[in-house]
Point group: D2
Chain length 288, copies 4
């Protein structure tokens, strides 16, 4: 059985290399998660166990693929940022997206019993889709992440008020929707506080800000030079020796991968963690 007469079919595979020197965002989204939340009785408006599971799966992805410099998650979605200088999988879109989605899914399913021990999985299983988007500048990339975190805030304030009206206010879905139609952020804060004694500022950071996953090093005192405007040059790949590359790799491997709930819209987060954009590992903090 010769294979040669069939092999021509390989010519139909079309290359899908992502543009070099751009930031690659791979966003992973839960498939039909509204249905899944209902099926597994996730708590409303936020199920801490489910979010912890998302974060654990994301951490496994970042651990596995060191070209990912930072990841940001909210609700049933997670965005993984691959550094602009990365040549991982030759920057093939389908390979990058499918590997990240598969690693995320594998860990989500495998870790499920640890985070939701009383809710066994059943068919159809939770799954995720994904897509890759390129951003040419640091400014575009940060705007992408700001977009997701602003979305998190807007949705969480809405959902917190919506479910307070239902769970504590006794309204049904329609009534709660109607009560919130046309309200501004201040109105929702007011409803929460005056009717339910909830100070939104005291809500858990994870719910208000979402989750950031990254390799952690010693924070840097931002000086006048590491300001946003120069960040693109900061992100330019620097030619370095093999020894230096090896050292970087080792330091990166030693770094602790943290899950935190911080403001990533403001400059401060980035100024104090220059390694996120430079891809140059920082100092491993001394044990305390």
């Amino acid at each position: 059985m010769a294979n040669s007469k069939f092999e021509y079919v390989r010519a139909f595979e079309q290359p899908d290399y992502l543009l070099p020197n751009t930031w690659v965002v791979v966003r992973v989204d839960g498939r039909a998660f509204t249905k899944m939340c209902a099926k597994y009785n996730f708590e409303k408006p936020n199920d801490r166990r489910a979010l912890d599971l998302m974060n654990a799966a994301a951490k496994a992805v970042v651990t596995d693929l060191s070209d990912i410099t930072i990841a940001y998650g909210v609700s049933d979605e997670y965005s993984f940022i691959i550094h602009k200088s990365s040549g991982l999988f030759e920057r093939r879109a389908s390979k990058l997206v499918s590997t990240i989605v598969s690693t995320f899914t594998a860990n989500y399913v495998h870790l499920w019993p640890k985070y939701l021990p009383e809710t066994p999985l059943s068919f159809p299983l939770p799954t995720f889709d994904g897509r890759a988007v390129c951003y040419p500048t640091v400014s575009n990339l940060r705007d992408y992440l700001s977009w997701r975190q602003a979305d998190c805030h807007i949705n969480n304030l809405y959902n917190t008020t919506f479910w307070a009206l239902i769970q504590q206010g006794g309204l049904d879905n329609k009534e709660a929707e109607k009560a919130l139609a046309g309200t501004l952020a201040a109105d929702k804060n007011e409803i929460l506080f005056s009717r339910f004694k909830i100070n939104y500022n005291n809500e858990p950071e994870m719910f208000k800000k979402g989750s950031v996953v990254f390799r952690d090093y010693e924070l840097v005192e931002p000086d006048s030079h590491t300001i946003t405007e120069t960040m693109d040059s900061l992100a330019e790949p620097i030619k370095q020796s093999k020894t230096q590359t090896e050292n970087d790799k080792k330091r990166r491997a030693k770094a602790c991968i943290v899950v935190d709930h911080l403001d990533i819209i403001k400059n401060d987060f980035w100024d104090r963690r220059p390694w996120l954009l430079s891809n140059k590992p920082g100092k491993i903090p001394k044990e305390t």
Copy 2:
């Protein structure tokens, strides 16, 4: 926190619609499976439990996504064929690939303890990547599948002989490689038979032919018209009423999804199962 000033970043998402009216093959491949086989001590040259697990995961994918007309798997890879008339996910490549890879991975990880109960999973977990390729004609599509099945045969004959030389013949890897260098299929059959009393024809069909997954209906007696040449017209979508579409959907849902090990290179397989290419569900077989 207004989101409007960040939303422009959506314009960077680039469309990736696959060409309409073409067969879409989504091939899923194990990531670093050589390493994984070693880690989990998979049997050589074929580990029946691991292949059964692959087949179970593939069956779950076909069950979940009814636009998949047939799937073919061998070793650590599986190809899923989406009918040319399908508009699933608007034919977006990343959505199709990531959903199939995620569903496959979720089921693979979830079903692992059932198929390999004595080999618990550990990090890093098994994962898969995927890609989509379009084929314009039935002839191209069948050549793709023939390519994979011919590959299965060639590799399995090689591996069966290679591991017989090692496991029963006492050779080491290098010696076995050398013994097989330049041999033809007939030579390998001869080695197997004369030295190890193995008749390759009696090897399990799953090892020799790989696995096919599809919805099963009553076999059709091929008449002179359903020959390969007319298959492209057979595959052309037929305009039909909503009732008819609904009926098709119901019949498809009722159909039994089978995993079998058949020759898919020859015409006979396709002639007797016209629904695979026409996407027109066949007759549900009477219970026996």
Copy 3:
């Protein structure tokens, strides 16, 4: 001055191969032609000299690129069909589109003085843009061409009536538009005939049907087998000897390239010219 440190920029070029085994349509469109028609005083509703010039430019393109099997033009647009088996320029979209657009433009500008001797060109010059679209089946391809020819008919009937109302009926643009709002084809025919004694059927074929450009061979008596349904298999590339390929090339070079105004929606046109879809040159007609 070493070039090596800059050469990395080549890696930013992204491949744009069109899917193999599909029909490639390159459609060329006039840029800002409404303005150009006004500038050069083209006759309304059709300027025969301008259409002859379009046809001459298209004929030059078909002569130059023998992988083009047929071209169809109407108004300021021309569609060039590259046979599905063609590997011209490795099927790179930008190369195919730009070469065809450039050859079309060069001939259009160069031949202008021959077809419009009393209207010298001035800046900005007439230019064209282009795009490539792939069609997997003969049926899709013919539907594409039918779409363009049906469009030609619809527009020409409208324009003929519109300009009759203005040029002979004394209406202004607004009044003519209003008079035609909501009319069907029959209504327009009636207006033309009853008010202006114009029998639309007697209008020039070039205006009613557009123009087809192709290599001409002896017409074939269509038998019962060369019907639409089998056309896809007809179009499948046949393996042939080098001598045969050389002979084909010679016959193709000898063939007369004609510009005609025929119905390309009905089967008859295609049944009698099987070489258009098979890419197998026909018989050179005897001189008469």
Copy 4:
């Protein structure tokens, strides 16, 4: 003749938007120009008339499309740079490439008799192909242009020496090739000077540096801030009022488009012409 049943074919057109916020280079190349040079007896190693014609065609393109910020040409190729903030033709690759190629070709053919009055055009006419490439940063863009200009220098030094050996040294092609095999730049300079009394530095700038086309404004005294490192932020689009945009448009239209032969590899060229990267028109120079 209803068109509705054919219109579905539009769905086969695939979008080809170029990534936003990246520099678009459209490079135009002569098709089979070696053959054309021979046919029209172009002078070797450089034909001034032919280069002047290339420059005139390029100037027409830059005049016509004000989103082009700079163009660079050498031999039978021309690169047109579209500013990263441009939304011309929705950034569709085929539209951008085909329009630029068509405008270039139209002007090249139309202006031919002016630049080569004694060499009338004949079929097949000179034509060009084109492709678009995106560059994310100013640094990448400048490296692209440096690559082309370094190539110009390397080729011109080689060709000048090669043709001196033939035209003045009496060698044939093979002998000249052999004489130059393995030589460095210094060797070629030496051959030119010692054997033919040619000081390469005195060769015409157009031959040594190629040609740059751009809108000219008053040169700027570069201060310490407009250095290469900050150029990316310089190129970031600035939000501005409609009046400002209108003013810019007018100033751009008033600007003189020049063809010059300058070093575009060094910083000086860019530092003194900040409008090239900022897309912010400079000061119109006072008439002198």
